[in-house]
Amino acid sequence: MAYFILKRIVQSVFVMVAVAFLAFSLFRFVGDPITQMTGVETSIEDQERLREELGLNEPFISQFLRFTCEMLQGDFGFSYRTRQPVANMIADRIPATLELGVVALIISLLVGVPAGVYTALKPRGVLSQTILMTTLVGVSIPTFVIGIMLIFIFGVQLGWLPTFGRGGTVAIGNWDSSFFTLNGWRALLLPAITLGVYQLTLTMRLVRAEMMEVMRSDYIRFAMARGVPMRRLHYKHALRNTMVPVITIVGLQFGGVIAFSIVTESVFQWPGMGLLFLESIRFVDIPVMGVYLVVIAFFFVLVNLVVDLLYVAIDPRLRIKDAS
């Protein structure tokens, strides 16, 4: 057990080093940092002095080590565009994106898991066929079109919900949360549904496949033969074993949620990290791009690590195998 955890942590650290290396190479080789930081009127001598001061003449490896050390201390450098510390810029945006992502994930699970179970148990039913057909269309409709449609229906035609921004937020320490005002929830609803829809179809299809697999297994057939009531069979025997992989799904989906939050945030002008990343690409703001990558990778690695550990905690077979 301890060995397994240790192995996973070492792997995670390795991934983080690789991503940091990528971010550093971006910063170092895409455009010249000095010309980005100085104006046209800076003399060549001043530029060279700055280059020396920042250590840009040192060997690549020592530069990378210093870059990593500074990052570990929370110093992420300055944005080319706004001249502010990147750490602050990102930290301001993290709550918006995380809250959006979490609510979207919850929506996708609350709808996707029951829908997947239902379509697996009644594969030939009219409702199942309708659901499956809808999801096929659902994955083909781009996220931004779903967003526009929701804005059009609920924002423009019905006028029920706001169409952009975060609405009212309450600051808890450094964390601006929209969970505590009605206004905030109303603003959160449309973007979260938009982001959740795509994940929902994936969740549903995976749960469906898993459930059908489990229903075919020997222990279910045996229980059937023994005369266990169908209800009990479906929801107690089969569903339990289906739920184990669902946790992995959540971990896998996290990357998708983050990536598609870029699109969703752009449609709804949601002030999260994705919008910041888009702006940084448009203005070739390399430090922000690099730090965004590192932060996203960090969340990604963290979620996957937790998922792996949960997996061991939930599935006793993994522990037994380890003990023997």
Partner: protein, 301 residues
């Protein structure tokens, strides 16, 4: 007789599947319109002289105040919607298809080689693929686009936009091809015909492309249709985000982005008609892809 039936079984299944026929018809209509855009279209949306501001914001023909010359109305610049959409679809298809071609050549080549040689080469290729698979395609494409913006000089950036976009999409889609090609190659490698070819001393390249490739085309074809839909979606999304193509050479995604400005006003057609065309195109390609998968996977039949 049975060989004949077997050969045309796919065609027969196609003819009795209504969804596949409708999907094929819709896709064919859009592709036809896109290919012959310069003959069908009333105006050239790239040529400022071919349309006039006086014709701006005309509604489609069934609404009041329409001009029968512009069947689906015009945008605020006076561009005919049909023409914009035809040219837009053409650009979307060109980018989607070329990105797909690059991704397929790169992915299949690497996958075949990884499956054929195995060993260290295989490990390296698959590690890269794993890392990229963890990143969603859209993030990869955005990053490549951002890097290109940083590296290329300002002056030539606009001209190279289409190429950068195509490459960014291609580099985010090759993994699927590589993994499928590798897995199928592994299976084929154990078969006698491949072993025989190797024994006869044929060069590796010949074994890979002449012997193995034709036998693994089935699954690759399925991936190709599914990935064509992804490529078109990816291009539309990037252009919608304002990272893709500029407004003077609009693809379907750019048209939707422009149409967003009219979301709150009454000119619904500027937004919804290009959106409808994009969704129809992608949905029909996906349905065709699903259909192909069923054909090539007899277990599901």
């Amino acid at each position: 007789m049975s060989a004949f039936l077997k050969k045309y079984e796919g065609l027969w299944l196609f003819l009795i599947s209504p969804a596949a026929i409708i999907a094929a018809a819709v896709a064919a209509l859009i592709v036809f319109g896109a290919v012959f855009a310069s003959w069908i279209a009333l105006v050239n949306p790239y040529d400022l002289a071919s349309f006039s501001l006086f014709d701006g914001l005309l509604p489609p023909f069934w609404q009041e105040g329409a001009n029968s010359k512009y069947l689906l109305g015009t945008d605020d610049q006076g561009r005919d919607m049909i023409s914009s959409i035809l040219y837009g679809a053409r650009l979307s298809l060109i980018i989607g298809l070329s990105a797909l071609a690059i991704a397929a050549v790169l992915g299949v080549g690497l996958g075949l080689a990884a499956g054929y040689y195995g060993g260290r080469f295989d490990v390296v290729v698959m590690r890269i693929a794993d890392v990229q698979l963890a990143l969603p395609a859209i993030l990869t494409a955005l990053l490549i686009d951002g890097i290109a913006r940083g590296i290329l000089p300002q002056a030539i950036q606009q001209e190279l936009r289409v190429m950068v976009l195509t490459l960014a999409i291609a580099l985010s889609l090759w993994v699927n091809f590589a993994r499928t090609a590798r897995a199928s190659t592994f299976v084929e490698m154990n078969k006698e015909y491949v072993q025989a070819a190797i024994m006869m001393g044929q060069r590796p390249l010949r074994v890979m492309f002449v012997h193995i490739l034709p036998n693994i085309l089935g699954p690759l074809l399925v991936i190709m249709t599914v990935d064509l839909a992804s490529a078109i979606l990816l291009e539309a999304t990037l252009s919608f985000l304002g990272i893709g193509l500029p407004a003077d050479s609009p693809s379907l995604g750019t048209l939707i982005r422009i149409g967003m400005q009219f979301l709150l006003s009454g000119e619904w057609w500027i937004l919804w008609i290009p959106t409808l065309v994009l969704v129809a195109l992608v949905v029909s390609i996906n349905i065709l892809g699903d259909f192909l998968r069923d054909i090539f996977n007899p277990r599901l039949r």
